[in-house]
Amino acid sequence: MARQLLKGNVAFAEAAIRAGCEAYFGYPITPQTEALEHMARRMPELGRTFVQAESEVAAINMVYGAATAGVRVMTSSSSPGVSLMMEGLSYIAGSRVPVVIVDIMRGGPGLGNIAPAQSDYNQMVKGGPHGDMRMIVLAPATVQELIDLTVLAFDLAERYRCVTVVLADGSLGQMMEPAELPPMTEPRPVEARPAWALTGARGREPHAITSIYLDPEEEEAYNRELQASYREIERHEVRFDETYLEDARIAVVAFGTAGRLSLTAIEAARAEGIAVGLLRPISLFPFPEERLLRLSDEVDAILVVEMNAGQMLTDVRRATRERVPIHFFGRTGGVVPMPEEVLSAIRDLQRELHPEEAVA
């Protein structure tokens, strides 16, 4: 498949189709609406299911229903819409059916605006949905990675029977970049739906897919199973990318677009002789805990860069046990930091570490 110029929102929608996504339910919201529009045209063309729901509340519950039937199903939305899906996501996690959701984040809180932000880290990674539950969260930094992680999200959701989130921001949804789509995968035939699916109780005991366990002991036993699956995810699904860390004395830790623009700043800083590198977490849950702890032994300071007020920052502090000074640079409300601003934060940090080298 050749590389082509693709808009992020269209790219992940088409990637999902090629990953065998059989049903899409969504509600229009900027800056991800092109994904819904792409699905509206393509899914019926391929004999698959597209429904524009009356709300995000309904959309996520349609997704839930289709997931109980054992099909590959997804939705996509943006911050305020994703907030409305929290109830459904908790039920989906509580009944262990596989679902993929793409969140193209925008500035908040409230209605906020439609500019790119990373304001939903806490909501998606730390749990907006009620109950002791986690979702796998994958954060792409390019359109190509958005495509690849969307495909991976379906596999992970099915492997662990959980919700997998692709967490990107409005700039990735809106930007056009050369990227390569995967080859087409047909949806699985009806006979090949998973053994737990609701397909009608023919020649077997009826299946019930539910998240209610009135007996606290039974609920706790179920919670233990859930927690065991999250530990399994933590053992096997940690993903991150690192650049220029071999000789670095300063490490920038940033995900998604913040990671990408930090790299531009890091390259400029290195040209000035500052030994700085980048650790870019790709899986936000599971978080690269072990790598961050090691990193705290390797560098003199860490600079966390985010497009929010410091949401991942608390996880970096925790994972490194603050064995090195942790600094933060963030812009909020839909303001995308310029690489020059990050460069300036790197220079400040360098001066703080090496005051003797400070230039007047």
């Binding site: 229903g65 289709a66 109980t68 109780a201």
Partner: protein, 269 residues
């Protein structure tokens, strides 16, 4: 000439529906949920749909419906059963999909989901239990609570000036083009129970024929939260609910859309 003795084996007059699980329910004595469950199960058996039907349970007293039907079942968040049913039916068009929802679930928190499922003409069957009160949480006011009816959250009686009017979901949904069959029946006596079963059967047949959205509203009892005994609760349906919620078909394929009210029910006892 010899006369053969008549067989001593008698065919059973009543049997347990296959679609109903042989399990005791948690429903209160005098509650008509059991009757509604049995009617749905009998219809599913008669239409030979047991192995191809998927039910969606809601939140409220019928939350454990999946334990009582011998069918594949999903359990939906409060009010969202029509959305789950949409997801199921669209991806399993060959299956029969139904929801079983109470009045708090369907008419209050799930008002948007039921309205839009009807508007899209989803090929699903909805069994709507209207007992004019929240049962599971202990007798609070529902959208369907009658004017003046005392509940734990309208202790002086529902004051329509501040707490609104009873919501007539069947009349409302019958206006929607995507709805193919909408009927209201009652479970307060044998005559009406038989009519209710006919309506439930039609609501499943409409789905089988792919005609659109189908709903049967069933006026039901809640003796525990109404503070009445079992017979008193059935009388309350007949005397107080039926006059507010007239019975009959509000919309049916090739049928007159005229309401056929069964009067105030006084003679039906």
């Amino acid at each position: 000439m010899s006369v053969q003795a008549p067989s001593r084996t008698l065919a059973p007059v009543v049997s347990y529906p296959e679609a109903l699980a042989p399990t005791p329910t948690h429903y209160c004595p005098g509650c008509t949920h059991g009757i509604a469950h049995r009617l749905v199960a009998e219809v599913i058996d008669e239409l030979e749909l047991r192995e191809t039907t998927i039910g969606v349970a809601s939140v409220g007293c019928s939350v454990f419906a999946y334990n009582y039907f011998a069918l594949d079942f999903a359990q939906a968040p409060h009010g969202r059963a029509p959305a789950l049913a949409t997801g199921l039916k669209r991806t399993s068009p060959g299956k029969t999909v139904f929801t079983y929802q109470g009045d708090g679930d369907l008419a209050s928190i799930g008002a948007a989901e039921i309205l839009h499922a009807a508007a899209r003409g989803e090929r699903i069957t909805v069994i709507f239990i209207n007992n004019a009160i929240y049962g599971m949480t202990g007798g609070q006011m529902a959208p369907t609570t009658l004017a003046g009816q005392a509940t734990t959250s309208s202790p002086l009686g529902r004051n329509v000036a501040t707490q609104g009017y009873p919501l007539k979901m069947s009349e409302l949904l019958a206006q929607v083009d995507g709805a193919a069959y909408v009927a209201r029946q009652s479970l307060h006596d044998v005559v009406h129970i038989r009519r209710a079963k006919k309506a439930i059967r039609k609501a499943f047949e409409v789905q089988q024929q792919g005609l659109g959205f189908a709903m049967v509203e069933l006026l039901s009892s809640c003796p525990t939260n109404w503070g009445l005994d079992a017979q008193g609760a059935l009388d309350f349906i007949r005397d107080s609910m039926v006059p507010v919620y007239p019975l009959g078909e509000f919309k049916a394929p090739q049928a007159t859309a005229a309401v056929q009210p069964s009067g105030n029910g006084k003679a039906a006892r």
